[in-house]
């Protein structure tokens, strides 16, 4: 009998991550891919890359999360579709069992999750502002001509970080340009930016939250040592970055799928690796049924419509 494995897929705005976990919840294989606005193609590509590692394994459950969780679920045949807050919390609690605060900063959103005894007690996500997320850092790195991978190490070289206005991404940029023109060193500006973003995060997303150690920092931005150092400085406590920090959502999705399969009798809904060679396509139309003009999306496998969503009233949801 083949060994069991669980597949977790996190389709985010910037990255699409896939992981395979064994029955003990250990990571067998992980992939971090750029979504590039083509979620279907990236999922197919990722699955092709995973296929060799999965040979000889039985996929016993599939979980999806992230903003593209529903899309990924119909394409793969998922057993469990969960929001990214629950997924991240479950993954952190598995990796650092006594974690009490999770800071997660991804491509376009950031969240804080407060846990006690392994269960979510409180959480928040950024609402009206995306300053400080990965996309913003990417942009600033490009503008300064610093590869994003070197951004963090550059920040650590700073001796006197400058104060940057971090409320709004655009104003932060103006302020950085101004500081450059004043003659500040680039590492001090980069470090100042990290501190500004951390301040912004703590004042917005983290507002009113009971932040207590141990603190875990995950999501793509956790790769940035400058951000980590800025969090440690602001919170006055060590901040742990887990080994698989950039695929924690996918790990959580796989763990939740395993949990789901334990509760449920019967096989996984997984369509199988072969099915992924099918031609999947998405198309949309504007419903003229009322002035809401909803953009309804059709997902097709070959010529067959396998899912449809997007209408406010739900009239197109069944087909």
């Amino acid at each position: 009998m083949a060994r069991k494995a669980y597949l977790g897929v996190d389709v985010g705005s910037v990255s699409t991550n896939l992981v395979l976990l064994n029955e003990q919840g250990e990571v067998l294989e992980k992939l971090y891919l750029r979504t590039r606005g083509e979620p279907i193609a990236v999922i197919q590509e990722g699955m092709k890359m995973l296929a060799p590692a999965a040979s000889g394994l039985q996929i016993a459950g599939v979980g999806t999360t992230g903003s593209g969780r529903r899309l990924a679920a119909v394409i793969l045949g998922a057993d469990c579709v969960k929001n990214e807050i629950t997924a991240h919390a479950v993954a952190s609690a598995r990796v650092v069992p006594d974690v009490r605060t999770v800071i997660e900063i991804g491509g376009q959103d950031s969240k804080i999750i407060i846990l006690r005894d392994g269960a979510v007690l409180d959480f928040a996500m950024n609402t009206v502002c995306a300053a400080g997320t990965g996309s913003f850092l990417d942009q600033q790195a490009a503008r300064l001509g610093v590869p994003i991978e070197r951004f963090g190490e550059l920040a650590l070289m700073s001796t006197t970080p400058v104060r940057i206005a971090g409320r709004c991404a655009v104003f932060a940029e103006s302020d950085m340009i101004h500081k450059q023109q004043m003659g500040h060193r680039i590492e001090d500006i980069v470090a100042g930016l990290c501190e500004a973003l951390v301040r912004n995060y703590l004042n917005n997303v983290g507002k009113g939250k009971d932040i207590q150690p141990p603190v875990v920092f995950q999501g793509g931005v956790a790769a940035n040592a400058g951000m980590r150092a800025a969090f440690e400085k602001a919170l006055g406590t060590p901040v742990a970055v887990p080994e698989h920090y950039n695929v924690m959502g996918a790990i959580g999705a796989a763990l939740l799928a395993a949990e789901e399969m334990e509760r449920r009798d019967g096989p996984s809904n997984f369509r199988g690796f072969q099915a992924l060679d099918m031609d999947y396509s998405a198309s949309s139309f504007e419903c003229k049924g009322c002035p809401n003009l909803c953009e309804v999306v059709n997902i097709k496998m070959g010529h067959e419509v396998i899912a449809r969503w997007g209408s406010r009233c739900g009239r197109w949801d069944s087909f």
Binding site: E84, I85, T86, D117, D122, P291
Partner: protein, 369 residues
């Protein structure tokens, strides 16, 4: 004269009944849609809160249908709403619309003022006519509130998704079409029957999670702007209750002196340990009702607020202490014209997960004794 007014949930049924019974011609604006919101946002100051923007959209869409007179509620106190009637009048005038706007200010304790302002809208009527029109409108308002409470109790157990929402729409139509108090009573009974019949026994669970909704009255009452929070929670199997219904708002608006808090009102007393000062709008009520839901052992509370709403921002800063002291999870959702469906849904799902996991743990602890 063709009168129109802004939407706020199902308030239109009451207002329309009142004005029509007094002999006025009424143009109910189309239900708020994306078009309403985009028209409203285009012509409103950016940092005004969402109600102003949707109101403007409602007025313009109603004037497209021939309305020439706008009735709007006024207000006093720190909430900006009291100023909105005047601001809206200026915005629409600057756009070149020709209309009359009548702003009905809350009386400082006297109903006579309201009737006088109403008289400007509908022309002369006998006192007896006023009494009967108000009674009919009141009956409809009470019926609408009652039906909205029934749908919340039914939705988690509906036979198929959307059945309860469809039944509510038919029930509200019956109330809307009723032309006497006796007919309203019958519409309420029939509507209640229709709603209760969508329950499927096999879907019933003995003790579903309960979540209370608090916050700023407009975003709480208007499903279009809150992305139908109530329906979505109900469809996730949650029993929802909200802190304010249209009847409460009308009663308060007509009869309460907004600047002098009445002693002995429950939400105010309950809020006192956390917020003992009037902060405008429904800030104090938000805190008081959260305390109340905690005392009634609800599993969670969701606060709804329009972006930049000062009273609710004050309340939001106070709520973490309530949450900590009384052990009730609280989440705040903020809405503006840029809010997205996906974002709201993700947060609601995560909140329901949180609530369910903590219930399971409590149950496990209870079982262990």
């Amino acid at each position: 004269m063709k009168i129109t007014f802004a939407h706020m949930g199902n308030l239109y049924i009451t207002v329309k009944a009142l004005l029509e019974d007094l002999g006025a011609e009424v143009v109910v604006p189309p239900m708020p849609s994306k078009r309403t919101l985009s028209i409203g946002s285009r012509y409103s100051p950016e940092f005004a809160c969402l109600p102003l923007k949707v109101n403007i959209g409602n007025y313009i869409e109603a004037m497209e249908l021939g309305a020439d007179t706008i009735a709007m509620a006024g207000g006093v106190g720190p909430c900006r709403f009291g100023l909105y009637g005047e601001v809206q009048r200026e915005i629409l005038k600057a756009l070149g619309y020709e209309f009359e706007m009548i702003i009905i200010e809350p009386p400082q304790g006297r109903l006579r003022h309201v009737l006088r302002q109403l008289g400007r809208l509908v022309g002369r009527n006998s006192v007896g006519k006023y009494v009967s029109a108000v009674r009919l409108a009141w009956a409809k308002m009470t019926a609408v509130d009652e039906l909205e409470k029934v749908v919340q109790r039914v939705r988690p157990f509906e036979s198929r998704r959307g059945a309860a929402t469809a039944a509510l729409a038919s029930a509200l139509k019956l109330v809307d079409e009723a032309s006497s108090i006796a007919q309203v009573k019958r519409a309420l009974e029939d509507g209640r029957e229709m709603l209760l019949s969508v329950r499927a026994p096999e879907n019933s669970v003995p003790d579903p999670p309960r979540i209370g909704i608090v916050g700023e009255v407009y975003v709480v009452l208007e499903p279009f702007v809150n992305f139908e929070v109530e329906r979505r929670l109900g469809e996730m199997g949650v029993l929802v209750e909200r802190s304010i219904y249209i009847g409460d708002w009308v009663r308060e608006h007509l009869f309460k002196d907004l600047l002098r808090l009445r002693k002995g009102r429950r939400p105010y007393d309950l809020a006192k340990p956390y917020l003992c000062h009037f902060v405008g709008g429904h800030g104090v009520e938000t805190v008081g009702h959260t305390v109340e839901y905690a005392k009634r052992r609800f599993d969670g509370v969701i606060q709804l607020a329009p972006f930049t709403c000062m009273p609710e921002i004050v309340a939001q800063d106070v709520l973490p202490s309530v949450s900590r002291d009384l052990g009730i999870p609280v989440m705040t959702l903020v809405f503006d014209e840029h809010s997205s469906d996906a974002g709201v849904l993700t947060r609601l799902e995560a909140f329901v997960d949180l609530v369910e996991r903590s219930r399971r743990r409590r149950a496990a602890k209870g079982a262990r004794g």
